[in-house]
C-alpha cells in the first residue's frame, strides 16, 4: 500500500469520526464522547498527513504546532464561562485566517507548478474572500463582546458593504482570469478584510448570537474552499459539515429574534421606540416589592419558573440562583428555568452559565416547552431578562411584533428583579412591569437573590 493510500484511508476514518462526533454532540449524554471522537478524528488526520511524501522538512511544522498548542491550551483553560462567546469568536477568526494563508500558499505553489485550472483559482479566490471576512469579522465580534472596542462607526453601512462586496467580486474574477498575478489575490484579501470590519461593526449587542453563528459557518466554508484548492477531500467534507451546522444555528437564532439574516447584516437594527411612551406605560401602575414579600410568596409556591437573561451573568448571580433553587426545592417547590433561545450572547450560552453553577440540564426548559406551563405556575421570577418577556411582541404591529417570548404574564405572580425600569436592547418599555400580577424587586440581581434566599430561611 502506498503512502497515498494510507493517507486516503486515514482521511476516511477521520471524516467518519467527525460525523460521529457531531452526532454525539447532539445529545447531552453523548456529548462528551462526541467531542472526544471529533478530537480523535483530528489526531488521525494530522498523523496520516505527516506521511505525505511531499513533506520534506518537519522542524517548522513542529514549531508551528507547539506554539499553536500552547496558546490553545492557555486560552481554553483560563477562559471564564461568561467570556465563552469571545473565545469562540477568536478561534473562528484564527481558523479563517489560517484558511486564507493555506489557500495563498497552496495557490501560489499550484500556479508555480503550472496548475492554474479553474477549480484551483476559483477556490483560491473564494478562500481568500470568505476567510478574510471571517478573520476580521470575528476580531470585531471579539472586541465588541470583550467590550474593548465597539468597531468603526460606518456611515451609510449598507452602501459601503454593497460597494465592497462588488469590489471583492471584481477582484475574485481577476484572480481567476490572471492566476499568476499575485497582486489580485492580496488585493482581494485586503478588500475582504475591510468588508469583514464594515459588516460586523454596525451590528448591535442583541444580534451578536446571530453573528457568531454565521462566522462559525464561514470558518467552515473557508476550510472547505481551501480543500478545493488543495484537492483535499477531508477539508471539503469537514468544512462543509461545519458550514452547514453554523447555517442551521444562524437560522435558529434569527427565527428566535424574529429577524431575517438580511435585516441583521444590512438592516438598521431593531426599530426602537415604536410609539410606546414609558411614562404612559408605567405611570402609577408599577408595584414595587421587597425580598421578604417575595420570600413569603415563594414559601407557599408549588411551582416556580425562573427566567434568566444575560443580566444574570453580568451580576454574577448564577451561584446565588443555584442556592435559591436548592432552598426552594428543600421547601417542596418545583423549580425549573425557562430559557429563551437568545438568552445570553451566543446560542445556548445561558445553559452553559447555569451548568457551571451546577444546575442540572434537566431543569433547563426551552421556550416552547415551558410556555404552556406558566398557567400552572405560582411564581415566575424574571432575572436580568427584558425584551424576551415583553408582551408587546404579541401585538400585530409593535416594534418587536412576532418575536417569540416567554409568556411569564400567565403565571399567578411575576417577580421582576431589575435595577430600574430602563428598556432592554430593543429600546422599548415593557408593559409587563405594570401588569396587575407583576411586582418589581429593584436592585442588583445577585444581592436580591441572596436576600430572598435568606428571607426564605426565616419565613
Amino acid at each position: 500500500m502506498s503512502s497515498d493510500d494510507v493517507i486516503g484511508i486515514g482521511y476516511l476514518v477521520a471524516a467518519a469520526l467527525f460525523i460521529l462526533g457531531l452526532k454525539g454532540l447532539g445529545k447531552p449524554r453523548t456529548a462528551v464522547r462526541g467531542n472526544q471522537l471529533g478530537a480523535l478524528g483530528m489526531f488521525v488526520a494530522v498523523l496520516v498527513t505527516l506521511l505525505d511524501r511531499d513533506i520534506v522538512s518537519y522542524w517548522q511544522l513542529a514549531i508551528g504546532m507547539a506554539i499553536g498548542a500552547a496558546v490553545g491550551v492557555l486560552l481554553a483553560l483560563r477562559v471564564e464561562m461568561t467570556s465563552m462567546p469571545q473565545l469562540v469568536a477568536l478561534f473562528n477568526g484564527f481558523g479563517g485566517l489560517a484558511s486564507v494563508l493555506v489557500g495563498a500558499a497552496s495557490f501560489f505553489e499550484a500556479v508555480g507548478r503550472g496548475n492554474d485550472d479553474l477549480q484551483v483559482s476559483l477556490a483560491a479566490a473564494l478562500t481568500a474572500w470568505i476567510g478574510a471576512v471571517t478573520f476580521t469579522g470575528s476580531l470585531i465580534a471579539f472586541t465588541k463582546l470583550q467590550e474593548v472596542w465597539d468597531g468603526l462607526p460606518i456611515p451609510a453601512a449598507r452602501i459601503v458593504n454593497i460597494t465592497l462586496s462588488v469590489a471583492a467580486l471584481g477582484l475574485a474574477i481577476a484572480v481567476v482570469a490572471q492566476p499568476d498575478q499575485r497582486l489580485w489575490f492580496w488585493l482581494l484579501v485586503a478588500v475582504a478584510a475591510v468588508s469583514g470590519v464594515t459588516l460586523t461593526s454596525p451590528i448591535g449587542g442583541a444580534d451578536m448570537p446571530v453573528v457568531i453563528a454565521l462566522l462559525n459557518s464561514f470558518s467552515g466554508l473557508a476550510a472547505a474552499a481551501a480543500g478545493f484548492v488543495l484537492d483535499n477531500a477531508l477539508l471539503i467534507i469537514a468544512g462543509a459539515l461545519v458550514g452547514a451546522s453554523g447555517l442551521i444555528l444562524t437560522a435558529i437564532m434569527t427565527k428566535a429574534m424574529n429577524r431575517t439574516l438580511i435585516d441583521v447584516l444590512f438592516g438598521d437594527g431593531p426599530a426602537s421606540g415604536g410609539g410606546l411612551d414609558a411614562d404612559e406605560v408605567y405611570a402609577g401602575k408599577v408595584t414595587s416589592t421587597s425580598a421578604d414579600e417575595v420570600a413569603m410568596l415563594l414559601d407557599t409556591a408549588e411551582r416556580v419558573v425562573i427566567v434568566p437573561g444575560y443580566g444574570l451573568a453580568v451580576a454574577q448571580a448564577q451561584h446565588a440562583v443555584r442556592d435559591l433553587t436548592k432552598a426552594l426545592e428543600a421547601n417542596g417547590s418545583e423549580v425549573v428555568f425557562g430559557i429563551h433561545p437568545v438568552a445570553g450572547r451566543m446560542p445556548g450560552h445561558m445553559n452553559v452559565l447555569l451548568a457551571e453553577a451546577e444546575i442540572s440540564y434537566d431543569a433547563l426548559v426551552e421556550m416552547d416547552m415551558v410556555n404552556p406551563t406558566f398557567e400552572q405556575t405560582d411564581v415566575a421570577i424574571v432575572l436580568g431578562a427584558n425584551d424576551v418577556v415583553n408582551p408587546v411582541a404579541r401585538e400585530p404591529d409593535g416594534p418587536i411584533a412576532g418575536m417569540p417570548i416567554l409568556d411569564v404574564d400567565n403565571a399567578r405572580v411575576v417577580v421582576v428583579i431589575k435595577r430600574s425600569l430602563s428598556p432592554g436592547f430593543a429600546g422599548i418599555p415593557n408593559p409587563l412591569f405594570a401588569a396587575d400580577n407583576a411586582m418589581m424587586l429593584f436592585g442588583d440581581g445577585k444581592a436580591a437573590v441572596v436576600e430572598i434566599t435568606k428571607a426564605l430561611a426565616e419565613v
Binding site: 488526520a45 499553536g68 476550510a223 451546522s245 450560552h349 445553559n351 451548568a355
Partner: protein, 101 residues
C-alpha cells in the same frame, strides 16, 4: 479528484451536516459551536502539507503561520468544549445510564 467529484462531496456533506444539527437541543448549542469550530480547524491538515513541502520561502512562512493558528483553533476548541461539557449534569444520574458518561 475531478472538480465534479469534489463538488459532490461538498454538497453531500452539507446535507449531512444539516441533518446532524437540526435536532440538537438548545442546551448544547454553545458546546456544539465550539466543538464544530474545532473541527473547522481541519485546515491544519492543509497547512501542514503546504509548510512541509518547502516550495518557496513565502509559501513556507505563510503555511507555518497557518499551522500555528489552526493548531490553536483545534487544540483550544476541543479542550474548551470538553471543559464546558464536563459541567453538564443530569438531575438524577441513574445506574443504567451512568456507565457511559
Amino acid at each position: 479528484m475531478s472538480p465534479i467529484v469534489a463538488l459532490t462531496l461538498f454538497v453531500i456533506a452539507v446535507f449531512l451536516g444539516v441533518e446532524l444539527i437540526t435536532k440538537v437541543p438548545p442546551t448544547l448549542h454553545t458546546p456544539l459551536m465550539s466543538g464544530s469550530n474545532a473541527i473547522s480547524g481541519i485546515t491544519l491538515v492543509g497547512a501542514l502539507v503546504s509548510s512541509g513541502t518547502e516550495y518557496s520561502t513565502l509559501t513556507t512562512i505563510l503555511a507555518v503561520v497557518a499551522v500555528a493558528l489552526a493548531t490553536t483553533n483545534v487544540v483550544g476548541g476541543f479542550l474548551v468544549t470538553n471543559r464546558m461539557l464536563a459541567m453538564f449534569r443530569p438531575k438524577t444520574p441513574s445506574k443504567r445510564e451512568g456507565g457511559d458518561s
